[in-house]
């Protein structure tokens, strides 16, 4: 068990049955009362942020969580198959666990997989990926009105909005957190 003196950024603890990581903390001692640690923490499963005032002496249960860097290999009917980049072990992670992240998870990409009690519970992508366009309508020369966009597909099948000048085979940079086109890196 941890106590409040162990609190530091990144410490993983259990709160109400879910694993959290400490994001911010501050020593406070109100009035003539006990010492507390004002704590902001993030739920590792849902990303929800929780604020708790932990009283000095309160015991905190460590969360059995571990992050591993894994390479995404391929998909089968209901799961994605990843390989641990250090041990080469392969694991199947249900598609539901990966969720919408799959849109920006091309094959062979390295991702961070969070294990909770030995089970993979979340996959986080790099913030930016580089992808070639596999399908889009030709741009219309001359139509350069600012902000005009069209849909384009990348290898994962996800469709994103790109400027009209982007063509099939162009490599672009995408922000995986927002799904937005950022820039063209090279032309077909």
């Amino acid at each position: 068990m941890y106590d409040t003196s162990d609190i530091r950024k990144g410490l993983k603890i259990m709160i109400d049955g879910a694993p959290y990581t400490i994001v911010e903390f501050q020593f406070v001692k109100p009035g003539k009362g006990a010492a507390f640690t004002r704590t902001k923490m993030k739920n590792l499963l849902t990303g929800a942020v929780l604020e708790r005032n932990l009283r000095s002496g309160d015991k905190l249960e460590p969360a059995d969580v571990e992050t591993k860097t894994m390479q995404y290999l391929y998909a089968d009917a209901d799961s994605f198959i990843f390989m641990d980049t250090t041990t080469y072990d392969q694991v199947n992670i249900p598609k539901g666990t990966v969720g919408e992240s799959a849109d920006f998870m091309p094959e062979n990409i390295n991702v961070e997989v969070l294990f909770f009690n030995g089970r993979a519970v979340a996959v986080s992508l790099p913030n930016f990926i580089e992808q070639a366009i596999v399908e889009t309508d030709p741009g219309f020369r001359g139509d350069t009105a600012t902000g005009a966009t069209k849909p384009a597909k990348i290898s994962t099948g996800a469709s994103i909005n790109v400027p009209l000048f982007i063509n099939v085979g162009d490599v672009i940079k995408i922000d995986t957190r927002t799904g937005q086109y950022l820039e063209r890196l090279s032309r077909a």
Partner: protein
Amino acid sequence: MVASRETLEARARILRAVRSWFEAQGFLEVDTPARVRSPGQEVHLDALPAGRGHWLITSPEYHMKRLVAAGLPRIVQIAKCWRDNESGPHHRGEFTMVEWYRANAPLEALADDSEALLRVAAAAAGRDPAALGLAAPFARTTVRDLWARHAGFAIGGDEDAAALRAKAMAAGVAVGTAVAWDDLFYQVFLDRIEPNLAAAGPTFVFDWPAPLAALARPKPADPRVVERFELYAGGLELANAFGELTDAVEQRRRFEEEARLRAARGRDVYPIDEALLAALPRMPPTAGIALGFDRLVMLVLGLGDIAEVAAFGDERVG
């Protein structure tokens, strides 16, 4: 993070202005022992050992009250105090306290003093009191009023700890394993009250529940609360004031209870200050207050960390 030269200069100017303000009000500046046998017995304070059965003071209050009892009606002290296991943006193990007493004066007189002092400090630092929100009269409220507005339930001061815990949980406050009355109070305070105080202008909070009496006397009109206020400004807890308890029998009972709680929680137990108890019957009705000088400097200079207002503020104490 340490104080800049400009901060140290401003701190010195504020200190001089505070001293001359007290002198102009007819206060006698005193200097009481820093190394004592009986430091504050409060349950949540830890003194630093100072050798041969002595401790460094956590507050100069016991000796200052003996001076009031001995016939000095208006005294002030600017004292270094030490508290073990306190370290954070608003806490240092070694800090400077401005503590003053007014015999035969109501608690409100100390609120008036504090308001004046904050403006004096701002002016001494070359800051506009209005820009710091210190120009208008400070808000004066009560613990019960804050609870009614922000906590989601009413607090009386006579409910037992189990009832308080049930009410806090029903209101959705995460109270953890807290079962003691004061711990439950502060879980709610931190969760619901303090964030609102931090966003408000300078505020005096009066009428604290009897279980948080410390050295304060019960309010004659409503003994469920005591004569105590705290001053909050700019998100800082700046000062704590009491209508001082002069009933030596009741004071001994509280010291013994605190000693029992300290022992139960595995903390050092300090000898009861018999000299203070012997002096209390001679003490006139008195109001006393402690104001954190480092935090006062933080407030008027707009600095967020106590290490930024002290020379060598980054050196660890204790």
